[in-house]
Symmetry: C2
Subunit: 125 residues, 2 copies
DNA sequence: GGATTGTTATAATATTTCTATAACATGATG
DNA sequence: CATCATGTTATAGAAATATTATAACAATCC
């Protein structure tokens, strides 16, 4: 389990955890059906509280990235048919691209970034 | 001043404020040299505390979007030569694109979003 | 001089985040 | 059946962050 937590970051631990796992799914380090470590196990590995991990898993469940069943724990299960995905993505892009645009980041530079990032996502999409 | 604050959002008020202003700059509703409302004025308009607005302005100053001088208040002044802009942008893109990628958003769909967004940014970049 | 500006200080409250224990029902394992 | 590990839930507290409330200050504009 390669999960990096930055205790000096201003980002909440449970969000860092969530993000790492989503990144892990996108980069195929986690695949549909894979089981995540138990909340207690992962908490111990990282050195944080069980509930913090649980919160991350709960968010991932609500966002449709994992299914959690008794005994098996959290299992990667991606809900690929989300209605608001595109609109949500656009909303998030709008603000972070605004920052770039103010600093003269061109559309082509953004394209290049997208390409680099999607390469890590392996697929040919 | 067209600033929309969502009091039901889970996003901090001062961050919503910051984002709206950055968006305003990107979409040319605010231009280099324009003055922002005084902290007291804007606070009253929105119905929040002066310090919350002040915090937003302080963040904008630190991020290089405004200059603040005595008496004039906050003035749009964009530092376009930021070293870490691209790397920072990539880091932010990585996670939100991961979310999209997991839900089968193709690179072409992302391109299309970028195009739509950059159109609002007016320029030909 | 008076009004308005950002700035600073101090404090109180509310919310969020993280931790700490503990108990529970469930299901796998032996 | 007994044991053990699982997520879940409850409760509580600590710590950090966000928001509000007053108040005062120096600078600057009119």
């Amino acid at each position: 389990m390669i999960i990096e937590i930055d205790f000096n970051s201003d980002e909440a631990l449970y969000l860092q955890l969530r993000n790492q796992i989503i990144l892990g799914i996108a980069t195929s380090r986690f695949r549909e059906g894979d089981g995540l470590p138990s909340v207690r196990q992962l908490a111990e590995d990282i050195g944080i509280n069980m509930h913090t991990v649980n919160k991350a898993y709960t968010v991932l469940k609500q966002e449709g990235f994992v299914r959690v069943d008794r005994r098996k724990g959290a299992v990667i299960a991606i809900d690929r048919e989300r209605a608001d995905t595109l609109e949500e993505l656009k909303k998030e892009l709008r603000i972070i691209l605004a920052k770039g645009s103010c600093r003269n980041i061109s559309k082509q530079e953004v394209y290049a970034l997208i390409d680099e990032i999607y390469e890590d996502y392996g697929g040919v999409n």
